[in-house]
Symmetry: C2
């Protein structure tokens, strides 16, 4: 089973992003989607969306404290996004794991945890690659970090270094989309969480350092030679005409969900 943890927050493209993401996940057998809203309550939009999605899911929410949130105008590398939400997903998994016994518990031993942002693009093959993860599996990520791709470099079947455009000597210079963790490891290392105060580029390391060393990484995707996931980003839609019409009392009907 694959547990996918997705942080998400309200914005104009949210429903569109969740829609196409759900179409991908619907093709993946045995996927359990943990959607964590960055919001003080679960929203109607996400609740309705999930219940109509046809997916197996858990709906959570956890507001990012204001002092940790990017402000309008901040450069987007200033503060990590989604850290609190991913931690909330991990907490749910640990709670769930502690309540399950017997046959189901044995099944959990083979489960995998993946952190999937709502705006990335995932191939179906990716999920087959991560399905057998003993500790932490890794693979290339396309269109990330100002690069065509970043990837672990594999020699004799082992990860020996990383192809990245920036500080290759970080403990784990890997994007969030570039690894999956065995649930067993998550359940037995309860201190492993994302550090929302981590320096830019060190969020993934703050979590992975609790779980493995570079030596333990399991290279997937043909020894890290295939790009199966892309760090796409969606443009923020311009609302110039909407604002002009709003001033004339002719804005788009606010009762229509977008």
């Amino acid at each position: 089973r694959i547990y996918v943890i997705t942080p998400t927050y309200a914005r104009l493209v949210q429903k569109a992003e969740l829609t196409r993401l759900s179409h991908t996940f619907l093709h993946v057998p045995q996927l359990h989607w943990i959607v964590v809203e960055d919001a003080p309550q679960q929203t109607q939009l996400v609740s309705d969306f999930l219940s109509a999605s046809g997916l197996t899911y858990t709906h959570l929410n956890k507001l990012t404290p204001k002092e940790r949130k990017l402000q309008e105008g901040d450069p987007n590398w200033l503060k990590p996004r989604g850290a609190e939400q991913r931690n909330e997903g991990l907490r749910w998994l640990r709670w769930m794991g502690s309540t399950v016994h017997g046959k189901e518990a044995a099944a959990l031993e083979e489960a995998v945890v993946y952190f999937a942002d709502d705006d990335n693009t995932y191939s179906l093959q990716l999920f087959e690659e991560m399905r057998y993860t003993y500790r932490v599996s890794v693979w290339p990520v396309g269109l990330v970090g100002g690069m065509k791709f970043e990837r672990p470099v594999v020699e004799d079947g082992k990860v020996v270094r990383f192809h990245t455009g920036w500080r290759p000597n970080r403990p784990f210079p890997i994007d969030m989309a570039g690894f999956a963790v065995s649930l067993r490891l998550v359940l037995t290392n309860k201190e492993a969480l994302f550090d929302g105060d981590a320096q830019m580029g060190f969020l993934e390391s703050s979590f992975l350092q609790h779980l493995v060393t570079m030596d333990d990484l399991e290279p997937k995707a043909d020894l890290c030679t295939k790009v199966l996931v892309w760090h796409t980003r969606t443009e923020k839609p311009k609302m110039k005409r909407e604002e002009a019409l709003l001033k004339q009392g002719m804005g788009s009907d606010p009762d229509v969900e977008v």
Copy 2:
């Protein structure tokens, strides 16, 4: 049957866009994807992608003539994008229609044609809405034209005007994603094509004017009150670090497809 015509062109996010689009289309029964590359030849990337996609498809190509192509730095409203490719798709449909007789020809009578750009987001419900189109069906489009959504306004079951932020009196102020046409109409009106020289905002009208009047439009999506498709756009990925590494001879392996 639904024939979906998609123009596409080579760029860093192309494979990612086609990947998530294909995941949506794989859920739609009886969909035939007509992919038209804006390229002098069919590329290996798109050919390989399509043959692995699991979809029923036709692969075409048609290069936009240089004088009609947007140049680096042009504002993106200057020239319509994808017009020649959609026309090539229409030509293929007409050719195909003219060669089919008997029972299959009767099935074509009930088919529908939809123009789906490679970067938009489509709900699955959208395809159920368009499946029964007698002439031209229409519905709202989210996040388009500087608006939360644009849509036909329906009174007593008929489209009477359009909610749009710009020139509502264009013949058909509807985005490409906001309508579908019966194949029968496409086959019997061979002169209906997109005018690649149309003024900005008049591309859809240049095609639809050959087929219907406003009176004929069939409103879908609960009388045009639901947003089932979003005009999302994907950010162009920055390649700053890639370029810096390239200068040191350490760029990403060009043999790895992204």
